[in-house]
């Protein structure tokens, strides 16, 4: 629900939630930003038959969770730690995407302001 | 016919019966029209003593009526033969003389439009005499008809036969008159079959006479002359079933025996492209089946009355009744096994 309000707020700069960032990733940052890299290996993901939409940057935690699930079945409450790790990673990833969205919006607002005064 | 022979405890009548048989044979197998006429006359003369019974005034009157009509027809037949011999030298069948010869033969048979005597006389005869009248007496006029007929006239006569046979029977309650009109209707079918081939007529005639025999023997054994006598509820079930089967067979309903000759005649009708005539055959058959079914329906299903003092015991004749039911049902199917 909050996404809708946030998305609505960004319409004025013509920004939808599916758009990619268009500005330079390094602009405005003091430290050096690195490209995120996948920790889980491709052949591990393929052999575990994880569906495509779950093969993101948190997939190594997901693999650990699946391994723990298979080992502890049927007493799956014992996998709570791995599940918590995975969900934490997912939440961090979500927050990161939220921040990227907000950064994009602000940069566009700034650009509009600069081009309006110029 | 065996029944007739068997129940005839009068040796005079036996004598006249044999003369009647021979007269038909004379009429059929002669090679001159005179011989035919002689056969017809002897037929008439020998049939009259069979049906007249001096104790019963109705049968005397009936035999007199029969004598008058048949003799009129015979006279006309003789006259037309002589005119044909003297004045007409060709063999063309489509002329007025053939019409006149055919009408006298039709009157002999009891075919429309000269059929008015037929229901009257049938009303006055007993069942076995009726059987003779309806089957045997038709043989020689039919065969003579096949020797010299006018096609257009006969087709018109067929249509009249069918219509009168069906419409006239709608309003009857006497079983004899009902079978008379049905006989007139079947005459239409038989006349058409004569026009195709004599063999076909023989086939139709044999099956028709077998069906009529079964019906008439049933009515004779039960001594029933009117429709309201059929509604007695304590009839044996097999008798009612036999009645149903025979009536439906006479009407020409498919799995029964009577369907087969009608089927073959319809096939010949369609091959020779008599389409309108087929339609009339069909529709009149429908009307006839209607009034048969009306009788059977009432006798099967309605609970009219149950007589306490007269139980219809027919133990000695159950063989005949069951045999006739069996033949009526199965003969069409069995014939396919035998002949195909």
């Amino acid at each position: 629900m909050g996404q809708i309000m946030g998305g609505y707020h960004a319409r004025s700069v013509d920004l939808n939630s599916d758009d990619n960032p268009t500005f330079d990733p390094q602009a405005g940052f003091q430290y050096e930003r690195k490209q995120r890299e996948m920790i889980a290996k491709e052949e591990d993901l393929i052999s575990a038959r994880i569906p495509n939409k779950y093969r993101d940057y948190c997939a190594h935690y997901l693999l650990d969770y699946q391994v723990c699930r298979y080992k502890e079945m049927p007493l799956l409450y014992r996998c709570a730690h791995e599940k918590h790790n995975y969900l934490n990673c997912e939440q961090q990833d979500y927050v990161l995407r939220m921040k990227e969205f907000e950064r994009e919006r602000r940069l566009r607002v700034r650009e509009n302001r600069i081009s309006a005064t110029a | 016919m065996f029944f007739f022979i068997l129940i005839n405890n009068n040796s005079n009548k036996m004598f006249f019966l044999f003369i009647m048989f021979f007269s038909t044979l004379i009429s059929i197998s002669s090679n001159s029209w005179f011989g035919c006429w002689i056969g017809l006359e002897i037929n008439l003369l020998s049939f009259i003593p069979l049906i007249s019974n001096s104790k019963n005034l109705l049968s005397v009157e009936t035999s007199l009526k029969y004598f008058l009509t048949q003799s009129l027809a015979s006279i006309n037949f003789l006259f037309m033969i002589l005119i044909k011999f003297s004045l007409l030298k060709n063999f063309n069948m489509n002329n007025i003389i053939s019409i006149m010869m055919n009408s006298s033969l039709l009157m002999k048979m009891g075919s429309a439009p000269f059929h008015f005597w037929f229901p009257n006389i049938v009303e006055g005869l007993s069942w076995m005499n009726n059987f003779m009248l309806m089957t045997w007496q038709k043989i020689s006029p039919m065969i003579l008809l096949s020797y010299y007929f006018n096609k257009n006239f006969l087709i018109f006569m067929i249509i009249m036969n069918l219509i009168i046979g069906s419409l006239g029977g709608l309003n009857q309650t006497s079983l004899r008159k009902l079978l008379a009109f049905s006989s007139i209707n079947n005459l239409g079918w038989m006349i058409f079959s004569i026009m195709i081939s004599e063999n076909l007529w023989l086939f139709y005639f044999l099956i028709y006479s077998m069906m009529i025999f079964m019906m008439i023997s049933l009515f004779f054994l039960m001594n029933m002359y009117f429709m309201n006598q059929l509604f007695i509820n304590n009839m044996n079930f097999f008798i009612k079933l036999n009645l149903l089967i025979n009536f439906l067979s006479l009407g020409g309903l498919p799995p029964f025996m009577g369907f087969m000759p009608k089927w073959i005649i319809i096939k010949f009708l369609l091959i020779n492209k008599f389409y309108f005539l087929t339609f009339i055959f069909m529709m009149t058959s429908l009307i006839i089946i209607y009034y048969y079914i009306r009788i059977i329906y009432s006798s099967f299903m309605f609970n009219y009355f149950k007589m306490k003092w007269m139980n219809l015991l027919m133990k000695n004749n159950m063989l005949l009744i069951n045999l006739s039911s069996f033949i009526s049902i199965s003969s069409m199917i069995l014939s396919t096994f035998i002949f195909m």
Partner: protein, 572 residues
């Protein structure tokens, strides 16, 4: 007979449970095929698909049905022909199992039609007029779904076989699949009683209570949801899924409102089932089939328990189902009211009961993903309404004063019924968390603001307060709702859908067919065929008789006349 079938089904449930754990551990799914007949190029093959979803559902169905049959040994012990009921229930379970395990449309049709037919037989089990009407409404509404599935069978012949699971990915953009998806959605809507077809579910409460516990809470009405879960890959991007979303959230909302006006105990429970079905369908049409399946299973547990408690209460109230006669039952029947309370609270989504896991997950997914404002509002409003009518029910049944008679004896210790309820109580407490471990292979991450997270609790508290206040009636209370008579009758009578489905649909046609029958069947068509022709023929025959009954001399004379005419022609 009861004990035999109870043991058989219980054993079947255990088998299913062990196979389910084995299958889900190893990620197995088994596809059996038996070739029945094979001609030259045609073969008839019976196939069975066993994967963890079907085994889990079969386990739940057999558990509930075994417990219900055991319960009905005591509930219906005065029934002379109890064996018929048990046989019907067993045939019902068989049809349901056939529906669950079948990967092709013909065996789905066998199970589907079997379900519809046997639920009709079960609804009309008490043979009175109300049951007959209810059964007719049930059977005909279900029949529409059957017709839709038959047409799907016709359309899917285009692809060569009836095994629908093989065609989802390949044929998604095809015109044929479009039509198939439309018809499958309508079939599921009739079976699961969504908005155009929802009038049969409250009416089907004319069935005996154990039958309602089995049929109308967990198995029959979830068959439609199960079918859509199986077809989910096909239907995800289709337009009709959005239509289904719209109709199912309206169903949820409508039945929540109507349950607040009802005073019949079983009808309230039926409307709450309808509301939860709307919830299941809507979360399915939003694209989360596994959450819908989860809610289906947990709902089956506590709803069956709720029906069984209602059965015990109805028995004690001398067969009165009206809640205005009940009250204060928690003092007298502690164990039954324990079960009733737990199932009611589980229905509301009170934390850590079984209903909480599924319902809360649904509501959080709705808040987290970006959906419509109307979807959001109706979801939360319906949750609040659920709590509203639940608390109203608890107030009426459990808490106020007893309203039936002066002297009463409320007997609770019928241990057959109680034992069967305890089994379901145990499952209803634990199945939520137990299933949430198994079903979700890939956990859902949900990250919500604080107030949005607590929105469920706000709505529940609001609903409970309203439920408490509405049911505080005394002798002096005025019913102010009657002032807005039109609006309140609209809301109360399920938005007039029963009337529209029954009288509204049939009135025009019956009227028209009366006109047709009188004027054409009994009128003109009798004159132009039938009687008319008979009259014509009869008149002809009578007319002919005038010629027939004549003087004999005239016949002979006419013959001579004929010959004279012909003779003259001869010489011309």
């Amino acid at each position: 007979m009861c004990f035999n079938s109870f043991f058989f089904l219980f054993f079947f449930m255990l088998i299913n449970f062990f196979f389910f754990v084995y299958f889900i551990m190893n990620g197995l799914s088994v596809f059996f095929e038996w070739e029945i007949i094979s001609f030259n190029s045609m073969s008839i093959v019976m196939s069975i698909l066993l994967d963890w979803m079907s085994l889990l559902f079969m386990m739940f169905v057999s558990l509930i049905s075994s417990v219900v049959i055991f319960y009905s040994k005591s509930y219906m012990n005065s029934e002379l022909n109890l064996n018929r009921l048990i046989i019907l229930v067993l045939m019902f379970v068989f049809s349901m199992v056939l529906l669950i395990i079948s990967p092709n449309l013909i065996s789905i049709l066998l199970g589907w039609d079997g379900l519809g037919l046997i639920s009709y037989c079960l609804v009309i089990y008490y043979q009175n007029l109300k049951s007959y009407n209810a059964g007719m409404l049930t059977a005909l509404s279900n029949r529409i779904g059957d017709v839709m599935i038959l047409m799907v069978i016709c359309w899917i012949m285009n692809y060569g076989s009836w095994n629908y699971i093989f065609y989802f990915d390949f044929m998604k953009n095809d015109y044929v699949m479009f039509i198939i998806s439309f018809m499958i959605i309508i079939a599921a809507m009739t079976k699961s009683a969504q908005i155009p077809f929802s009038s049969w579910l409250p009416a089907a409460m004319a069935a005996p209570t154990p039958v309602s516990a089995l049929v109308h809470s967990s198995t029959l009405v979830t068959a439609g949801v199960y079918l859509l879960i199986r077809f989910n890959y096909l239907l995800i991007d289709m337009f009709f899924f959005k239509v289904l979303l719209f109709l199912s959230i309206l169903t949820m909302f409508m039945s929540g409102i109507s349950a607040n006006y009802e005073f019949d105990l079983k009808k309230i429970i039926a409307l709450s089932t309808l509301s939860q079905l709307g919830l299941m369908m809507s979360i399915l049409s939003l694209g989360f089939p596994d959450i819908a399946f989860f809610h289906l299973l947990t709902h089956a547990m506590f709803k069956a328990l709720l029906f069984m408690c209602a059965g015990v209460i109805i028995h004690m109230m001398n067969d009165i189902q009206d809640i205005r006669y009940m009250g204060g039952l928690s003092l007298y029947i502690p164990l039954t009211s324990l079960c009733l309370n737990i199932s009611n609270l589980s229905l509301c989504g009170i934390p850590f009961l079984s209903g909480f896991y599924s319902k809360d997950l649904i509501l959080e997914m709705v808040s987290f993903n970006s959906f419509n404002l109307m979807v959001f509002i109706l979801f939360y409003l319906s949750t609040g309404l659920t709590v509203f009518y639940t608390f109203r029910l608890i107030m009426y049944v459990m808490i106020s004063d007893f309203n039936l008679m002066m002297i009463y004896n409320l007997y609770d210790e019928d241990y057959i019924m109680l034992n069967s309820m305890f089994v379901l109580l145990f499952m209803s407490l634990l199945s939520g968390s137990f299933l949430s471990w198994f079903i979700f292979f890939y956990p859902y991450m949900i990250y919500l603001p604080f107030n949005l997270k607590l929105m469920v609790i706000y709505v529940s508290i609001l609903g409970s307060i309203l439920g408490f206040m509405v049911s505080n009636m005394g002798i002096y209370s005025l019913n102010k709702l009657l002032l807005s008579y039109n609006l309140s009758s609209f809301l109360c009578l399920m938005w007039f859908m029963p009337n529209l489905s029954t009288y509204g649909l049939s009135y025009i046609y019956l009227n028209f067919s009366q006109i047709l029958f009188k004027n054409i069947d009994m009128g003109w068509s009798e004159i132009y065929s039938g009687k008319g022709i008979f009259n014509i023929l009869k008149n002809y025959s009578v007319f002919y008789n005038i010629y027939q009954m004549n003087n004999f001399k005239i016949y002979l004379f006419s013959f001579i006349l004929w010959f004279m005419i012909l003779f003259i022609f001869f010489f011309i």
